[in-house]
Amino acid sequence: MSEPANASGGVVERRRAIRSSQNFVAGLTLLAVAAIALFATADLGEGRFYAVGPALLPRAVATLLALAGAGLVAGGLMKEGDMLTRWSLRGPLFVFIALVAFALSIRTVGLAVAGPTVALISGAASPETRPRELLLFALLVTALSIGLFRFILHLPIPILIIPRLLVL
């Protein structure tokens, strides 16, 4: 499992008014989520007497969440703790694009294209990637998954679609 990274680097010593920026921001995030949930359930009935309405549980949970958020914010101001570490953009960005590319291509051109596309775009997420090695590997993985999903598990996944010419 992943361990939360320890405070090092990142936001460094800016006259520490906030003792733990990680907890502080985490708390603010929770408060925001709670606020959204309370706002979104405002027009639902909480119910009375015989039946509990649909809003009871979400509103109760959101209230508790707000409390937890407030606690973290206060803790972040008063107690020493981890600071925020640097957020990388490269990893999340390319992986996200790769996944969306898969969603767009699986039904339109099929797995034979969508598979290598995911592998190649996501490859850009790591600085260690070697393009030629990755291309070979991507084709291999795609071939294997076509074999597994289509021919062993018999899933209705399109393999290759060329409009008006070919549907596999």
């Binding site: 499992m1 921001v25 949970v61 992986v95 997420a125």
Partner: protein, 500 residues
């Protein structure tokens, strides 16, 4: 007693069919594999394989998923001993003495004793599950909705306290899970809740989508950030079978580790995690010369390794008998069950007897397979460490994309997963553990259903939760557990357990 044996016979006749044996073997192999590879945990793997299992028969699917979980405990210790990298959290303790043994040229003995201890623990905890199942199910059938609700609250309280990391943050994750479970159409009124007018959300958030995004993909994103750990020196393995002295020294620790692990595994929240720490501390306390620990004491391998395997298996007990998942891995099992139309709970044992006993029998078979796969093939597993993450993660992504797409044949599910991946990454960055979120999500629906049913029976009076003695007792336990976690002395103790 006779019942037990006829039940086990039914189980073995189910588990020993060819397809189920095959799936058990695949599960154990995959489990060992991801156990060996650091950075890929059983939760993420089960998440990624969950969609594929939709096409299997439910018994086979669960047998395979279970195999991944306990298989990972075996694999995790292999790398802990040989290269000082714990493949799993549960193997962290094993690095202390296991790797020291390897440095002294006794790697094979350490591996051997770890496997023997794990196997013994697996056998015992399989029997414990089989023996405890019937009485627990009887008890569970006496429970009404109020008791169930209280039981789940208590379970979540334990889950918070026994988890690693900060208590308020764990609470927050469970709450977010509960909140996400409320998204969608309300079961009783048919009204939409928290859907923000999006049609994709009207039927609620799909479990596989949430798990794959927040746990599976977020872990990939997190791993991409860390520079890859390289195993530098690989010690020669040496002879595998422990000698008579080694066995003599380990027998008692294995027995104690098994007991400690089984007991702690049943508790909600930690599964296999807490057992090895407790067992190591216990062995160190009982040892005549505690200074040997950390310098290659065989007891320090035998005890914890038995404990983590025992815990991995006994954590199935609350799921199989009460239908309440005690940790995130079991929450995934609930997901797998419901997808196949099996409602987890006390009725599983009678209604789906083949599933229930087949799974239990498969655990014993799986442990035997693991013993065989692990010892002779240890060299191959270690070679796998040479596969670099830069190749591993694109393959994981391709596989997972296909898996998540195939659940509903829906490309929009893949996009939703991508969004959850970013959410999960942000949560990790903010220092949250995402596993409790999954637990909260799965328990959320069950809790709400039971709470509303309880209140309906009691004509809307919340007092019912306190008037029914069992429910009230459970809630009191929950409050005590949570309060105790805040008391400084206990908190310090808790931190010590996890830092040792």
């Amino acid at each position: 007693m006779n019942d037990l044996f006829s039940n086990l016979a039914l189980g073995f006749s189910t588990a020993l069919t060819l397809p189920n044996l095959g799936l058990c073997l695949i599960g154990c192999m995959v489990g060992t594999l991801i156990g060996v590879l650091p950075g890929i945990g059983p939760i993420a793997t089960i998440t990624m394989l969950l969609p594929i299992t939709f096409n299997f028969d439910p018994v086979g699917a669960l047998i395979m998923l279970a195999g991944i979980y306990y298989g990972a405990q075996y694999g995790g210790s292999t790398t802990a001993i040989l290269v000082n990298i714990p493949g799993e959290v549960t193997a962290i303790v094993t690095t202390l003495d296991g790797h020291q043994m390897a440095r002294q040229g006794r790697a094979g003995v350490a591996l051997g004793i770890a496997a023997i201890g794990s196997f013994f623990a697996g056998c015992v905890s399989t029997l414990v599950i089989a023996a405890l199942a019937a009485p627990l199910v009887k008890l569970a059938l006496l429970f009404g909705p109020a008791e169930y609700f209280a039981l789940m609250v208590t379970g979540l309280a334990f889950a918070v306290v026994l988890a690693r990391g900060s208590v308020p943050k764990a609470v927050a994750m469970i709450l977010i899970g509960l909140l996400l479970s409320a998204v969608g159409t309300d079961l009783e009124t048919g009204g939409e809740r928290l859907t923000f007018g999006l049609t994709a959300l009207t039927s609620g958030i799909d479990f596989a989508v949430l798990a794959m995004g927040v746990i599976g993909f977020a872990e990939v994103l997190n791993n991409l950030e860390a520079p890859e750990q390289r195993a530098l020196a690989k010690a020669p393995i040496g002879r595998l079978l422990p000698g008579r002295d080694d066995l003599k020294a380990s027998a008692a620790p294995i027995l104690r580790g098994t007991l400690v692990g089984t007991a702690l595994g049943i508790l909600p929240g930690n599964g296999a995690v807490l057992g090895p720490y407790a067992s190591y501390a216990l062995e160190k306390k009982l040892a005549k010369d505690p200074r040997r620990f950390g310098r290659g004491a065989i007891e320090g391998v035998a005890g914890p390794e038995s404990a983590n395997n025992a815990g991995a298996q006994s954590s199935f007990i609350p799921l199989l008998t009460l239908g309440i998942p005690p940790n995130a891995v079991m929450a995934l099992m609930v997901g797998a069950m419901t997808i196949h139309g099996i409602i987890p709970g006390p009725l599983v044992m009678t209604k789906n007897a083949t599933l229930f006993w087949g799974m239990i029998a498969s655990m014993w078979i799986g442990n035997l397979m693991l013993l065989v796969i692990n010892l002779p093939l240890v060299g191959i597993w270690v070679k796998l460490l040479d596969v670099p993450y830069r190749l591993l993660y694109p393959a994981i992504l391709v596989f997972s994309c296909i898996g998540i797409y195939s659940v509903n044949n829906s490309p929009s599910d893949v996009v939703l997963t991508a969004i959850f991946a970013l959410v999960g990454y942000a949560l990790i960055k903010l220092g949250f553990e995402t596993a409790p979120l999954l637990l909260g999500f799965v328990l959320g629906r069950l809790m709400e259903e039971n709470l509303r049913r309880a209140l309906l029976i009691a004509r809307g009076s919340f007092a019912t939760l306190l008037q029914r003695p069992v429910a009230a007792g459970l809630l009191v336990v929950a409050v005590i557990v949570l309060l105790a976690a805040i008391i400084p002395a206990v908190r310090r103790g808790r931190e010590e357990v996890f830092t040792e």
